[in-house]
Symmetry: C2
Subunit: 216 residues, 2 copies
């Protein structure tokens, strides 16, 4: 299955992960990144398809073709696997605040709107986002992870770049317009929004996001 | 439990619902509304707490203190119980389009924003709304019910009252701003939005909703 999957040495490690506390063998260090990525990929798919509650470390391990102990070894608890899976999925989103400084301030609404539509239009990034939304809506643990990563890291960084009163609330209401539009378009699939042209949506959403962030 | 619960006659009906196809006895007609309401109330609570997928007709019947057959008799399938439970919860929301005509058109954004905040601030109406959101995000059947009721009935009626191109898309994007804000405030509970003053939110959201609906 895996191109550079773990060899026999790594396999014995999977069965007895405590050994990994010692100095890793050369085989292990070579195999580790590929195995770790495979577990993360499996985690994203499992969380996305089943949601947070129904996903278990065991089901992730099974999907990744490894022992559960190896999942625990790399990531810890289910919550920690979830956070790691989200963090990778959100890596581009966490870079979104940079969009505020990369260009004129009057274009920030359009840049953020295009960014949000971009990650949702792309099936590779849409899958983990769906997982996050589904899980956060249904489970308090997942909601807390969402708050920590998205609200604190992403929105507070955007707010930090605004020199306005109520900057955090402004960033959240701008995000709310995009979150609501993405929910109705990609999750609930309400028409005509679900089939609307991306440019038409940018034209209508960008001024709203801009207004929330920069209007006096 | 129920103040005017079913008497012995109604109980035997619960055990053999086929009988109800005949002319209802006087006891049945008297008991029916209270029983029906009790089932609906139980359905709303079950869907709200467990979500669509984990709720069963049997668990609703148990919570309502009736036989499953009686739930099927009154409402049909689980999807139909869900639709009935939502429909009652959404009765005030389905009246929202009237807000457009009851007052000056330049106040429609504020009226809809206050309406949305009102139903979410009230725990009685928040519970079924949470059920709908959780279920619709996780389950295609529930999403279809949501689309049918909310999108088609509510948003199209609002759109029908706007004499503008792209009226349906406008109504959906206005709804998206409110849906996103309610999600982040009441479901994910992102701060400072979750604790923000209602009037502060009206001041920021109403112009956006107004703009989507009526700007040229």
């Amino acid at each position: 299955m895996a191109e550079r999957g773990p060899g026999p040495a790594a396999k014995s490690t999977a069965a007895s992960p405590a050994r990994r506390r010692g100095r890793p063998s050369r085989t292990e260090t070579a195999a580790a990144p590929a195995t770790r990525d495979r577990i993360l990929q499996a985690a994203r798919e499992e969380f996305s398809e089943r949601g947070y509650e129904k996903t278990s470390v065991r089901s992730i391990a099974k999907a990744a073709g490894v022992d559960s102990a190896l999942v625990h070894h790399y990531f810890g608890t289910k919550e920690q696997v979830f956070e790691a899976a989200i963090e990778v999925a959100f890596a581009p989103a966490l870079g979104a605040p940079d969009a505020l400084t990369e260009g004129p301030p009057e274009g920030v609404g359009e840049r953020l709107t295009r960014f949000a539509l971009g990650v949702w239009e792309n099936p590779t990034t849409r899958t983990p986002l769906l997982a996050i939304v589904r899980s956060a809506v249904n489970n308090e643990t997942a909601a807390a992870v969402f708050r920590r990563l998205v609200a604190t890291q992403m929105l507070r960084r955007i707010a930090g770049q605004l020199d306005l009163p109520d900057a955090e609330l402004r960033a959240e209401l701008a995000a709310a317009q995009l979150v609501g539009a993405m929910m109705l378009r990609y999750v609930i699939k309400v028409e005509p929004l679900a089939s609307a042209d991306v440019e038409q949506l940018v034209a209508r959403l960008a001024p709203v996001v801009q207004g929330h962030l920069t209007s006096p």
